[in-house]
Symmetry: C2
Subunit: 391 residues, 2 copies
């Protein structure tokens, strides 16, 4: 009989304390009792990763990335062992596996590794033995046999990559939000839950600030064709289906609006310091949000929260590269939005109408991004949502 596998991923807030872990255990067991083989990917409990990171910063302003990975990978191992115990306590067989044991192979780039292969032989063996398998998210092992971490949100990627490698029927990303919204409901009152969204549009949303799923995981799902759901851990809503574009009905001219804060703009002279800027950025694996250059000036936008040793990188840039901090960006995502000059013009005039200065603008076929001051992000998000989605 063919195996019917479901992969579920539970985020940090879903396993934040012992009671929540017990309730996740019940949800896992319920899926198992529907006849599925269940693989569960867990994040670290609540704020564990932040707490570990804060301790590291007290010791060293820019700790070595290898040691950071050693440190941070422990967070998921704690929650995975506790969840496994909770499932065993419900009378089901379960086993926990580290990223390495689950066959998550990555490149050697510490604190931001990419999954290069998934070899889930041990996972399959344990499923064959009738066990529920709990895997530590966010981590893998490099070909050098070193512990690596995948960067923020990496547990989503672990889940989707495993789902692809196991030929899962579907992959659920469970968190404290009940799906993907047209904007962050904490910022925009009129934000609505999307029933479905295409991989491409979700990729644009998550790459530009939406936190419900990690961008890389959406890309993995797109490439592997895994059916993906974003759902609440507690609650019986259907959540949001992530699907091929033809599976997504759109009643709205745009899909959503998303904002991102704490951006930095690096500005270099093309003929003098651009090479230096790019080489420092490359060494630091600095995750480029957007780069644009004309014949004179090159601007590179990125989020320093994803750069563990930003203070050290900053020093290398100082003097040669102009650094502007406390920037932000708001993106509008929707089919061919970025190709529609009339809509782009309207977006600019919406910003001007509420007195917000746009520092730069960038587009892709599915998106337009307006860069602004960090302090303007929420107001601009609300204004653009009102103009394009609530009409």
């Amino acid at each position: 009989m063919a195996r019917r596998v479901v992969v579920q991923k539970y985020g940090g807030s879903s396993v934040a304390d012992v009671e929540k872990i017990k309730s996740v255990a019940k949800r896992v067991v319920a899926t198992r009792e529907q006849g599925f083989d269940v693989v569960v990917v867990v994040s670290a409990m609540g704020k564990t990763t932040d707490e570990l990171l804060a301790r590291a910063k007290l010791i060293s302003p820019s700790p070595s990335r290898r040691e950071l990975d050693m440190l941070l990978s422990c967070g998921e191992r704690v929650s995975m062992a506790l969840l496994t115990m909770a499932i065993q306590e419900l009378g089901h067989e379960a086993v926990s596996l580290t990223g390495s044991q689950a066959g998550i192979l990555t490149n050697a780039r510490h604190s931001g590794a990419r999954i290069i292969d998934v070899r889930p032989f041990r996972v399959e063996d344990e499923l064959d033995d009738g066990k529920i398998v709990i895997v530590a998210g966010f981590q893998g092992v490099s070909y050098k046999r070193e512990v690596t971490t995948l960067g923020r949100g990496g547990s989503d990627t672990t889940a989707v990559a495993l789902a692809g490698a196991l030929g899962a029927e579907y992959c659920e990303i469970c968190s404290d939000v009940d799906g993907v919204y047209s904007a962050d409901p904490r910022i925009v009152d009129a934000a609505t839950l999307l029933k479905a969204i295409s991989h491409e549009e979700l990729l644009e949303l998550t790459s530009h600030g939406a936190k419900v799923l990690h961008a890389e995981s959406v890309e993995f799902a797109r490439r592997s064709g895994v059916a993906l759901w974003a759902r609440a851990t507690n609650g019986d809503g259907e959540g949001t289906r992530v699907d091929k574009p033809e599976g997504v009905d759109s009643e709205h001219p745009i899909t959503g609006v998303t904002g991102v804060r704490n951006l930095v703009r690096l500005r270099a002279r093309v003929t003098q310091s651009m090479d230096h800027m790019l080489s420092v950025a490359a060494d630091a694996s600095l995750p480029v949000l957007h780069l644009d250059a004309d014949h004179e000036i090159a601007d590179l936008w990125f989020s320093p929260t994803d750069v563990p040793d930003w203070s050290k990188v900053r020093e290398k840039l100082m003097g040669q590269v102009e650094i502007e901090e406390a920037c932000g960006a708001v993106s509008i995502v929707g089919d061919f939005f970025g190709r529609n000059a009339a809509k782009l013009a309207r977006a600019r005039s919406v910003a001007a109408g509420i007195g917000i200065r746009i520092k730069a603008m960038a587009t892709s076929p599915l998106r337009a991004t307006l860069f602004c001051a960090e302090a303007d992000v929420d107001a601009l998000t609300r204004a653009l949502h009102r103009a394009f989605r609530e009409e």
Copy 2:
């Protein structure tokens, strides 16, 4: 040039917070600057292990031992990564290694594994590269490639076993006590620091309650001939040297007195339930402190704190085996004490003189142990120290 290696082990109280980790880093660097290759073994920060264990107990009264190992092994990994960062911050090259990476191979007995081999090739490579090597204590990897833990105090064993395999000049066990005392100074005011003690006597002390070093580590040191020191992390005392008997001068008739609380006595009928008792004990890897049997009754003494699933083991024994909890024992250690009938008689009369009922007595050549109620342990320790050591 031959390598001159020193192994240092720092206990949980020595790395309890970020400031203490920084001060350990300075101590490590000072040793490095004396020209030694330094390997450091660390325990989990402060009460981390107890906190993780408490969380597990909230989820399951008797969690699976494999999952416990997955959980508890994280404690040392956190402190090892933080200490490595602190040393790097002082401008020295350092690298952290898990038990598995450091080549600590164990049997497959979870939550109480024994080291079966040490293959420190990676440690040697990193030392050759000029690095200070920080190893997670208390853990290893089984031949099944599973994470195992060595049981309480296992970090001492990691340190001594590594020191043996690396041919270290000496191994320092650093803690918040400045060496081995003739009795616990918190209980006995007149307790004095020992300058030296033989492996055999220290083994008897640590097996019967003295917490300064873990018994198994002393046995490793005895077999490998590693020079061992028990020292305070802070302070410039010489500490206690652990040496061959001929290297130890004794000005006292006994070396020390030690007490242990929270013992359980299992009592079985030899012809009816003794086999059952021993088979349950064997399955649970129950660490036998003492067993004695005549033709009718068999008594087995052990400490349930070393048995993670004691409540489950207890159930299997109930009905067939008499279980007496809240027992304790006080041991007197000194050359041939256990063979000296006059001294044994005097020990009994000391107990009787303060109205303490002795439940049982047991001896080895170097030791006599008096079993009593848990509540009597401190008073008996004081009385025996006074009678034999303060005379």
